[in-house]
C-alpha cells in the first residue's frame, strides 16, 4: 500500500479499493515501526487520525469527497494545529497547545486529508540538517548516520520512509527543497504568497513560504490545489486566482528553454551530483528542450544577504516568546529583565540564539545601513538577475544542493559550512520564485536532487515540467531498502 503515490492512493480511495481507516492504520503502523529510528515525528495524533479517517470514509461513501479525502499526511511542527502541541522544534514552545489552526492545516483538513502527526524540524526552521531540534536529530532513511536535510527534515524523512503519503513543509532558504534533495523525494516551494502564512510560526516573514514534500510532482499538484489561494488573514497572501495544477500536468509538452546558471556548477559542487544533474538535463533535451547557459551575476551573494535579512526578521519575529502569554517561562525570577533573559536563554537553542543576535546586530543603530539596508539592496540586484534570466528562458535548472546528505554532527560546529548548503536554493526565496527539487540520480549511493526554478506564478508549468521528467525517469520511485 505504502509504495503507491498519493495520486494512486487517491484513486484507490475513490474506487473504494481501500478505506481511509485501513490506509491510516497502515501508515500509523509504519510510524510505530520505524519512527523510533528516524525521529521524524514530534507528535503522532493516532486517535484524531483514526477519527478523521472514519469521517473521510463517510464522505467517500456519500460521494462528496475531494482527491485528498482519506489521504494520510503529516504537518511540519511549524504549523499551528488546534488542540495539538505546536513546538516548532523548540523548548520554548514545548508546552504550547495551539488554540487555532493554520490556514494550510484547516484547508487540508476541510479537504478530508488525515493528519497523522507533526513532524520534527530544525528549531524555528533555522538549520539545514534537522539537528537543531529540541527533540533531537532526524535521521536520513537512506543512511541513519546521515542527516535528512532541513529544516523540514522530519517531513522529508517521513515521506522518504513511506510513513505518510505527503507532508507539508516550509521553505525560507531551501528548507523544503534541500531535505527533499537529500532524502530522495520531491519538494515544492511555490511563489511567495501563493500559500497563506497564517498559522505558520514565522521565521523570516519576507522569505517564508509553505509547500509540499511528496513522492512526485503529481502528488505535489494535488496538495497544492488545496493549500494555495488567497487568505484574508495574511496581508502578503496573493489574490491571484489559483490555477488547476493537476490538469496542467496533463497538457501536451511544449518547447521550452532551460537556463543553466553556470555559477551553480562551481568548485563546491560534488562531482557525482554534477554528473546526475547533467544527465537530467539530457533527459530534457531529449524531450525537446533548448538548454542555455545563463549567468546570475549576484547570486553568489545569496548566502550573506540571506543571513542578514532572515536573521533581522527572525530577531524581531521571535521577540514574542517571552514567557508571559504562552510557552516556557523561567522560574525563580526576581525582575522583569531577568524573566525575559532567562526564559529566552533557556528556551532557545544555540543556532536560534546566534540568529537572534545576528539579526539584532544588523538592525542596531550604526549598523542598519551597512548591513540590513545594504542586504535589501543586494537582494534587489539578485532579484533583478533572475528577472533578466526569465526574459530569456522559461526555467532555470541546476543542483539543489552542493553535496548529497552529510553526516550527523559533521557541520554542527561550523555554521558557515552549514549555511553554504543552501547556496543554490536561497536565491529563489530572495526573489520569491517558485522552485522545486526532484530526485535525479545518485552520488555515492545517496540521492541527488535537480532544482527547477520558474518565474513568479509559474507553478503549473513548473509542476508540469517536473511531471514530464518523472514520466521519463524512475528516480522518484527509488526507496531506501529498509523502507520498501
Amino acid at each position: 500500500m505504502h509504495d503507491r503515490t498519493l495520486a494512486l492512493l487517491a484513486d484507490d480511495l475513490a474506487a473504494r479499493r481501500v478505506s481511509a481507516v485501513e490506509l491510516t492504520e497502515h501508515f500509523l503502523q509504519r510510524i510505530e515501526q520505524f519512527d523510533a529510528q528516524l525521529n521524524a515525528f514530534v507528535t503522532v495524533t493516532r486517535d484524531e487520525a483514526l477519527a478523521q479517517a472514519a469521517v473521510a470514509d463517510k464522505r467517500l461513501a456519500a460521494g462528496n469527497a475531494t482527491p485528498l479525502t482519506g489521504i494520510p499526511i503529516a504537518h511540519k511542527d511549524i504549523f499551528c494545529t488546534q488542540g495539538v502541541k505546536t513546538s516548532c522544534g523548540s523548548k520554548i514552545l514545548d508546552n504550547f497547545i495551539s488554540p487555532y489552526d493554520a490556514t494550510v492545516v484547516s484547508r487540508l483538513r476541510d479537504a478530508g486529508a488525515v493528519m497523522l502527526g507533526k513532524t520534527n524540524m530544525d528549531e524555528f526552521a533555522m538549520g539545514s540538517s534537522s539537528e537543531t531540534s529540541f527533540y533531537g536529530a532526524v535521521r536520513n532513511p537512506w543512511d541513519h548516520e546521515l542527516v535528512p536535510g532541513g529544516s523540514s527534515g522530519g517531513s522529508a524523512a517521513a515521506v522518504a520512509a513511506r510513513m505518510v503519503c505527503g507532508a507539508t513543509g516550509t521553505d525560507t532558504g531551501g528548507s523544503i527543497r534541500q531535505p527533499a534533495s537529500l532524502s530522495g523525494i520531491t519538494g515544492f516551494k511555490p511563489t511567495y504568497g501563493r500559500v497563506s502564512r497564517y498559522g505558520m510560526v514565522a521565521f523570516a516573514s519576507s522569505l517564508d513560504q509553505a509547500g509540499t514534500l511528496t513522492r512526485t510532482a503529481e502528488d505535489a499538484a494535488l496538495m497544492m490545489q488545496v493549500m494555495a489561494g488567497f487568505d484574508e488573514r495574511d496581508s502578503t497572501a496573493l489574490t491571484d486566482p489559483v490555477p488547476a495544477f493537476s490538469s496542467a500536468l496533463e497538457t501536451p509538452w511544449q518547447t521550452i528553454t532551460i537556463g543553466v546558471p553556470e555559477n551553480f556548477f562551481d568548485d563546491g559542487l560534488d562531482e557525482g551530483s554534477a554528473q546526475a544533474i547533467r544527465d537530467a538535463l539530457r533527459v530534457f533535451e531529449r524531450l525537446g528542450a533548448t538548454i542555455k547557459d545563463v549567468h546570475l551575476e549576484h547570486v553568489h551573494l545569496s548566502v550573506p544577504v540571506y543571513y542578514v535579512v532572515a536573521s533581522a526578521e527572525a530577531s524581531s519575529n521571535l521577540s514574542r516568546f517571552d514567557g508571559v502569554r504562552y510557552g516556557h517561562r523561567a522560574e525563580n525570577i526576581d525582575n522583569l529583565t531577568e524573566l525575559y533573559m532567562r526564559t529566552r536563554g533557556e528556551g532557545f537553542g544555540a543556532e536560534v540564539k546566534r540568529r537572534i543576535l545576528t539579526g539584532t546586530y544588523v538592525l542596531s543603530a550604526g549598523y542598519y545601513d551597512a548591513y540590513y539596508l545594504q542586504a535589501q539592496k543586494v537582494r534587489q540586484l539578485i532579484s533583478d538577475d533572475f528577472a533578466r534570466a526569465f526574459a530569456d528562458v522559461d526555467f532555470l535548472m541546476g543542483p539543489t544542493t552542493p553535496t548529497p546528505a552529510f553526516g550527523i554532527g559533521q557541520k554542527m560546529d561550523d555554521p558557515i559550512q552549514m549555511y553554504l548548503n543552501d547556496i543554490y536554493t536561497i536565491g529563489a526565496n530572495l526573489a520569491g520564485l517558485p522552485a522545486l527539487s526532484v530526485p535525479c540520480g545518485f552520488s555515492g549511493g545517496l540521492p541527488v536532487g535537480l532544482q527547477l526554478i520558474g518565474a513568479h506564478l509559474s507553478e503549473p508549468a513548473l509542476l508540469k515540467v517536473a511531471h514530464y521528467f518523472q514520466l521519463e525517469t524512475d528516480w522518484h520511485t527509488r526507496v531506501p531498502a529498509a523502507y520498501a
Binding site: L238, L336, A350, R354, L357, Q380
Partner: protein, 95 residues
C-alpha cells in the same frame, strides 16, 4: 567589522537573551565567523539600487472595519504560565 564580548553582551541585553558564561566563547567565535560572511556585502556597489523589502511588488490590502473576534480568553489563557484575575502576571513593572 568584528564583535567582541562586550558587543555581544550589549546585543544579548537588547535581545533580552541570556548567554551563559559557558556558552559565551562558542557564541563569540561563531558570531565572528558570521560577521565575516555578511561583511562580503560591503564590497557591492549599490549606490543606485532601491532596497527590496518584499519579494513581489504588491500593495497592502485593507480589511473592512468589522468586529469578527469573540471573547476566547479562557481557552487562550490555558497556555499562559501565570494568570490571576484574567491578567497575565509578570514581575513588578517599574515606570
Amino acid at each position: 567589522m568584528s564583535l567582541n564580548r562586550e558587543d555581544i553582551e550589549k546585543l544579548c541585553f537588547l535581545a533580552r537573551l541570556e548567554v551563559t558564561i559557558d556558552e559565551m566563547p562558542d557564541v563569540e567565535s561563531k558570531l565572528s565567523d558570521i560577521v565575516k560572511l555578511i561583511d562580503q556585502l560591503q564590497a557591492v556597489d549599490t549606490a543606485s539600487v532601491t532596497p527590496m523589502a518584499h519579494p513581489l511588488d504588491r500593495e497592502q490590502r485593507l480589511r473592512e472595519d468589522r468586529v469578527t473576534e469573540s471573547d476566547e480568553r479562557e481557552q487562550i489563557q490555558l497556555n499562559a504560565p501565570l494568570v490571576e484575575r484574567a491578567l497575565y502576571l509578570v514581575p513588578k513593572v517599574i515606570e
